[in-house]
Subunit: 195 residues, 2 copies
């Protein structure tokens, strides 16, 4: 076989999340047959991102500067700090347009089965960040999954032990959904948290 | 915003087939947070493949040599030529272990709606290849989709007009399937081609 380059490309594509053997083949075929320019651009973008993207010193999200644009924005309310799992979650909160405080991005969540423990998520930096004297409330905007709940539990306890006010997102019936199709656990939470 | 590198990476990932905004975000996050080495490897593999991978002069498949290993294999029977749409289809035929002839890879199929016409698939090279004096039978191993059928029709007529024997894969009930769940068109074909 003299097809090392093609083989290496398939292997490298398969390392992407959600990409199996068939998808990798389809991607490689598409790039080599129809979009060579796209292949070169993706290579350049990967190298540039690897070199330039790092973590914001304050909120830990991806940024190319020392401190990200959100943390530097003087219009944001530094008294509220929302803790999210990923930049994607942060972006979702931003799109809702209902939060004007600052963020702390854990870049993960507790997942003992995958070997992600308390030290792998940025718990110590979060405690330091939340204790800056300005933060009055930490909003744990974490997923309502088993792993998100565990993360919220650990982070909430550690923050509360330092006397910081901790809240979580409300659990309840999603906007636009019919009660008939909402799962029972959500209905139970919506009932007990009724207002 | 000072996040050009991240933005460019997301855009480049979205150009891959089957990758939308959410998948691109997940891939970028994974590479930057958990697999920087994978990002660099993918970049290197893309550049190497772009520089080294070209088309086999005989069968048109991807190769890094002038002529691919399959075409050079003296144990293969040059009297039979299987026409396939993509290298993936060729690989599927190879895995079946039931074909020992040579291949011609069209690298596509007729698709007028997508602007893929007769000149975009390698019909002229196929006619030249099939007329080398050794080929006695051209097996059209194309998809049984509307586009594959159209491709087979055009290629079959052009080959037959040159006096070359043309056959197609049998249509019928897949191995391991229960008749009850096979679609009606397949059953009709299996009936009319019964043996």
């Amino acid at each position: 076989m003299s097809e090392h380059a093609l083989h290496d490309l398939l292997e490298a594509l398969r390392r992407l999340p959600g990409v199996g053997a068939k998808s990798a083949q389809r991607m490689a075929f598409h790039l080599l047959q129809h979009d060579r320019d796209g292949a070169r651009r993706l290579a350049a973008a990967l190298l540039a991102a690897d070199q330039q993207v790092r973590h914001c010193r304050r909120c830990h999200t991806f940024t190319e500067a020392e401190v990200c644009a959100t943390c530097l924005d003087p219009r944001r309310d530094g008294r509220q700090l929302a803790v999210v799992e990923t930049p994607a979650d942060q972006a979702a909160l931003e799109r809702s347009g209902s939060f004007h405080g600052l963020y702390f991005v854990l870049m993960g969540r507790l997942s003992p089965l995958d070997g992600v423990g308390v030290h792998d998520i940025g718990l110590a930096p979060l405690l330091e960040r939340a204790g800056d004297g300005t933060v009055q409330e930490v909003i744990l905007a974490l997923s309502f999954t088993a792993e998100g709940e565990a993360t919220a539990h650990v982070a909430g306890q550690a923050l509360a032990a330092r006397g910081i006010k901790v809240t979580r997102l409300a659990r309840g019936v999603p906007v636009g959904s019919e009660l008939e199709y909402v799962d029972l656990s959500t209905i139970a939470h919506a009932l007990s948290d009724r207002r």
